[in-house]
């Protein structure tokens, strides 16, 4: 018990002194995760939509060639960024770009590098999730839309993507939560996120575990709040489980729908009150 009370009092002391520093770190982590997940989703949707453009045997050669090329490029992008560690991608972009171009290109803004690396990574994962979300929509939905003369893009925007989006909300949540945690590797380029704050504080105070515990609680709070909000979004998209019947004839209200505002003055003439 002694250990825990010591831990508690150290944590309180740390928070009293460095609370604003921790909060700043949380803010940067949250900001990076939200922006990068959002941009990553846009990239993912774009790639997913482009790779599911139908290519019929009867299409002309130029269209077939460009669609094929597009698929190859997206394939390479996905494989490269999914298949290498984000920490090395950050190194390559931040240190490698000036190295290979003899300082002609370099990022000076840490936020720009961090957002780019995390977004592009998220995009690579989301590209596959979106493709999966699109092909998991019942093919009958596509046929139903084709049968009333809708084009591929009209069908995509109005019918398929709204349903695919619903299917991949859990994936978006997954990616966001991964991003909240994995943005900590951005310390390699000097981005001071929530985890970088811990390293600083622990280095200055030698209170390693109290600070780590604050980190644990902080990260868990961030992810739990995100999970909760995503559940709410899912429920909202799901829609109501019941529906109202719409009365065809406005003069025949359903039971209980009609209330007299005032008591009829003459109770023997009920009809007057109904006017």
């Amino acid at each position: 018990m002694n250990v825990f009370s010591k831990l508690g009092s150290d944590m309180v002391a740390l928070w009293a002194k460095y609370g604003s520093v921790y909060l700043g770190g949380i803010g940067r982590t949250l900001g990076l995760a939200i922006i990068a997940t959002f941009i990553g989703c846009l990239i993912g949707f774009l790639c997913g939509i482009l790779t599911t453009i139908p290519c019929a045997k009867t299409d002309n050669a130029v269209k077939k060639f460009f669609l094929g090329l597009l698929r190859v490029i997206i394939r390479i992008y996905v494989e490269v960024f999914r298949g290498t560690p984000m920490i090395l991608q950050a190194v390559f972009i931040f240190y490698g770009l000036p190295y290979f171009t003899s300082n002609a290109f370099k990022f000076t803004n840490l936020w720009a590098v961090a957002i780019t690396v995390v977004s592009v990574n998220t995009g690579a994962y989301m590209a596959e999730s979106v493709r999966g979300g699109i092909i998991s929509v019942d093919p009958g939905q596509n046929e139903g839309a084709m049968a009333i003369g809708m084009t591929h893009w009209q069908t995509m925007i109005n019918v398929i993507l709204p349903q695919a989006f619903r299917n991949i909300i859990p994936q978006i949540g997954n990616n966001y939560i991964i991003n909240v945690k994995d943005t900590s590797v951005m310390f390699i380029i000097g981005f001071s996120d929530f985890f970088a704050v811990h390293k600083g504080v622990a280095g200055a105070t030698y209170l390693y575990f109290p600070s780590a515990t604050i980190e644990m609680v902080g990260y868990l709070t961030l992810t739990l709040v995100a999970s909760f909000l995503l559940r709410l979004l899912e429920k909202k998209i799901e829609g109501k489980s019941n529906y109202e019947l719409v009365q065809k004839d406005a003069l025949t209200p359903t039971a209980g729908n009609y209330t007299l505002k005032d008591k009829p003055k003459n109770p023997n003439k009920d009809e007057e009150g109904l006017k």
């Binding site: 009958g140 009333i148 019918v159």
Partner: protein, 246 residues
């Protein structure tokens, strides 16, 4: 002699080496109710899907008002907007309410104003007896209700021909009646329809032209009286005798 809407000429369809349709010929005039009957796997549904270009025919032509729609002259989406289709599995858009299902095609494809589309959707939902359910989502409806909405969705596009691909086969027996009643009503109003069905009573009593298909070819066709009364081919006799016993 009424106006010819659709002419199918020498239509064939192969899936790989498998010949599903062989040299199909028939004509649909305005106001015709054509039923296509035959055993499962005889190519009935494929024929219907070819007519709507959901399957691209391997050879042959589909002439719609004198224009071959299998060629490059007309965009498939434009042609499909004039040829409605009702599916066995309904295929209502599950992310939209009943009303929106019946409006989306009118707004996006026919470029009607939302007010016009709404009025028109209500007209046809009323016709199929579903106007009370406009706020419901497809998953909240029974099979028969879904199919009636699907019919309203197709009708709202005001197509020249309406194709039905086994519209009652996925329904519980007690719901078949409500859908057949709607189709019966449409037939009597002069809607041009091609119906692939296993409902022999509908074929006999409502349609004016019956096509019997057997292993990818039209085995026999004629008026319901001819097909059901005096079938000429042995295959037709065998097929129909199974229904008489049952």
């Amino acid at each position: 002699m009424s106006e010819t809407i659709l002419e199918i000429k020498h239509l064939s369809k192969n899936f790989g080496n498998h010949e599903v349709l062989k040299d199909i010929d028939f004509t649909v005039n305005k106001g015709d109710v054509t039923t296509v009957i035959g055993a499962s796997g005889s190519g009935k549904s494929t024929l219907l899907r070819c007519i709507n270009l959901l399957e691209i025919p391997t050879s042959g032509s589909i002439i719609f008002h004198g224009q071959d729609v299998t060629g490059r002259g007309i965009k498939p989406s434009v042609y499909r907007s004039k040829v409605g289709m009702v599916f066995q599995s309904f295929n209502l858009f599950s992310n939209m309410t009943v009303l929106k299902n019946c409006m989306i095609g009118q707004i996006k494809v026919l470029k009607r104003s939302p007010a016009d589309a709404h009025r028109n959707a209500m007209k046809y939902l009323d016709k199929v007896g579903m106007s009370e359910y406009i706020k419901a989502l497809p998953r909240q409806l029974s099979g028969g209700q879904k199919q009636r909405v699907a019919i309203a969705r197709a009708l709202a596009m005001e197509p020249e021909v309406l194709l039905f691909d086994e519209p009652t086969s996925a329904l519980d027996p007690e719901m078949v009646g409500e859908v057949l009643d709607v189709m019966d009503k449409l037939a009597h109003e002069g809607t041009t329809m091609i119906v692939v069905t296993h409902e022999m009573a509908f074929a006999r009593d409502v349609s004016n032209h019956v096509v019997y298909m057997n292993s990818g070819v039209i085995c026999e066709h004629g008026t319901p009286g001819e097909i059901f009364g005096h079938p000429q081919k042995k295959e037709t006799q065998d097929f129909l005798s199974r229904f008489r016993k049952g």
